[in-house]
């Protein structure tokens, strides 16, 4: 998967847990929590969805690394590479 495919998958996962999200309006580098109302249940749903579609298990200690679109994509890219 290339970076833009990963970003697409991440944004789709985000919309699936927060249907009000407007991916086009999101600033890639700004914290997600400041751009949309996300709570810990949303974050858990997001991680579950990412696990389903990408097969990546994000441990709880790494949740802060999903704090923006750009950081999440970089994290997921590394995780997918490590998985092989």
């Amino acid at each position: 998967m290339n970076q833009s495919e990963i970003q697409q998958a991440f944004l789709e996962a985000l919309v699936s847990v927060a249907p009000d999200a407007e991916p086009d309006a999101l600033d890639r580098d700004e914290p997600l929590r400041e751009q949309m109302d996300l709570d810990s249940m949303d974050l858990l749903n997001l991680v579950i969805r990412l696990n389903e579609v990408l097969g990546v298990e994000v441990p709880e200690r790494d949740y802060p690394r999903l704090d923006s679109v750009a950081n999440a994509v970089a994290y997921l890219e590394a995780a997918l590479q490590a998985k092989g």
Partner: protein
């Protein structure tokens, strides 16, 4: 065989009418007690409504989009039982609304914004509220069929006099909360509870679980409150017709904030009897369905005690307002590190501030204090929850 009426249910003392959104059955379908047969939209968002007797759908009287008063006929049901008492009522959808608060079995849930079952961005919801635009009537052009800010603006321009519904969000909140403050003599208690053990246990437990089965700290608190409530019956039940009725089961209401404002507190049925994993699944399911506008009617009216948390919004503690006819609400602030003295030294430890608002007609401060202390004690042995 006889015909009985399936009526618009009362989903709260302040509900006068509801809009039929969708039928989940067709004429001729056989239904069993407890089956979900319709989706109704109220000021509390979309709600799936159960049928309360076995039978066969004879006729769908109301059509999707119809606004039907509480007690008005939605459908006719052929049942094997002798005539149902409510079957004697005229089968018209325009039957007068039951007076609010008249039905002895109804409960009030907390208010939620109108149009909660409609997909819309938070900004669009806010604008719709300000302009009095019914979100359900706005043609959506946003992502995934959601209503965007621009859609609401356009709708408001087309219909500059778009009136609010007969019962606005603010009126719903006002009625429920004013009733609470008018009728219920609240007393308030607070207790800071250390969570070192609870969080350490979660840190060990979660990596052993599949991603979809991970536990949130909130579920430990919910379970602790449910167990304590089962042991403290003066906190768990309803106050109706001048008398408190204890509930043997703990149907724990959880306040769920909706995107774009408002909240609903549906019940986690028999929360005290569920294992942590089961409670977490039920909690996740009900939060997700609340936000999708797919609650069940019985979940809105069932709570015997409510838990509300505003910790994620950054407040230290919550002083709740009891939802009538319940008699207590537990508030949960944010989990944060606080200084604690351990063996004469100051250390930082995670803690949460729990509060209790309880009904002084039913319990006293001593009982409330024991209830909070019991919750705190249960949180010190998370493995036993």
């Amino acid at each position: 065989m006889s015909l009985s009426e399936f009526q618009m249910p009362s989903l709260g003392a302040d509900m006068d009418e509801g809009k039929l959104v969708e039928w989940l059955v067709e004429p001729g379908d056989a239904v069993k007690r407890g089956d979900l047969i319709a989706v109704v939209e109220t000021t509390k968002a979309g709600v799936e409504v159960e049928v309360w007797e076995d039978g066969v759908i004879a006729e769908l009287v109301a059509r999707p989009g119809d606004v039907v008063p509480v007690g008005g006929v939605l459908a006719l049901l052929e049942t094997p039982n002798p005539a149902h008492p409510v079957g004697a009522k005229p089968a018209v959808a325009t039957a007068p609304a039951a007076p609010a608060g008249a039905a002895p079995t109804q409960a009030v849930g907390p208010p939620a914004p109108a149009g909660g079952g409609v997909k819309a961005s938070p900004r669009a919801r806010k604008l719709a509220r300000e302009l009095g635009v019914d979100l359900a009537s706005v043609p959506p052009t946003g992502p995934q069929g959601s209503v965007s800010y621009a859609d609401v603006e356009r709708a408001a321009e087309r219909a500059p006099t778009a009136g609010k519904g007969p019962q606005t969000l603010r009126e719903t909140i006002a009625a429920a909360m004013a009733r609470s403050k008018r009728e219920i003599p609240h007393y308030y208690l607070g207790l800071d509870v250390e969570l070192t053990r609870a969080l350490a246990w979660l840190e060990e437990e979660n990596p052993m679980r599949r991603v979809a089965e991970r536990l949130l700290p909130a579920v430990l608190l919910l379970k602790a409150v449910a167990i304590a409530a089962a042991e403290a019956p003066d906190m768990n039940g309803v106050f109706r017709d001048g008398a408190f009725r204890r509930s043997d089961a703990v149907h724990l209401g959880v306040a769920v904030s909706l995107r774009g404002g408002g909240l609903v507190a549906p019940a986690l049925h028999d929360a005290h009897r569920l294992a942590l994993g089961e409670l977490m699944q039920a909690f996740r399911d009900v939060v997700n369905r609340t936000r999708q506008g797919r609650l069940r009617a019985s979940e809105l009216t069932a709570p015997t005690l409510t838990v509300t948390s505003l910790g994620e919004q950054g407040v230290d503690r919550v002083y709740g307002v009891i939802h009538p006819p319940q008699v207590a609400i537990v508030g949960c602030g944010r989990i944060q590190h606080v200084p604690r003295v351990v063996d004469g030294a100051v250390v930082a430890a995670p803690a949460v501030s729990l509060t209790l608002a309880a009904d002084h007609r039913v319990s006293d401060g001593l009982g409330g204090a024991k209830f909070l202390q019991r919750i705190a004690a249960l949180l010190q042995t998370p493995e036993a929850l």
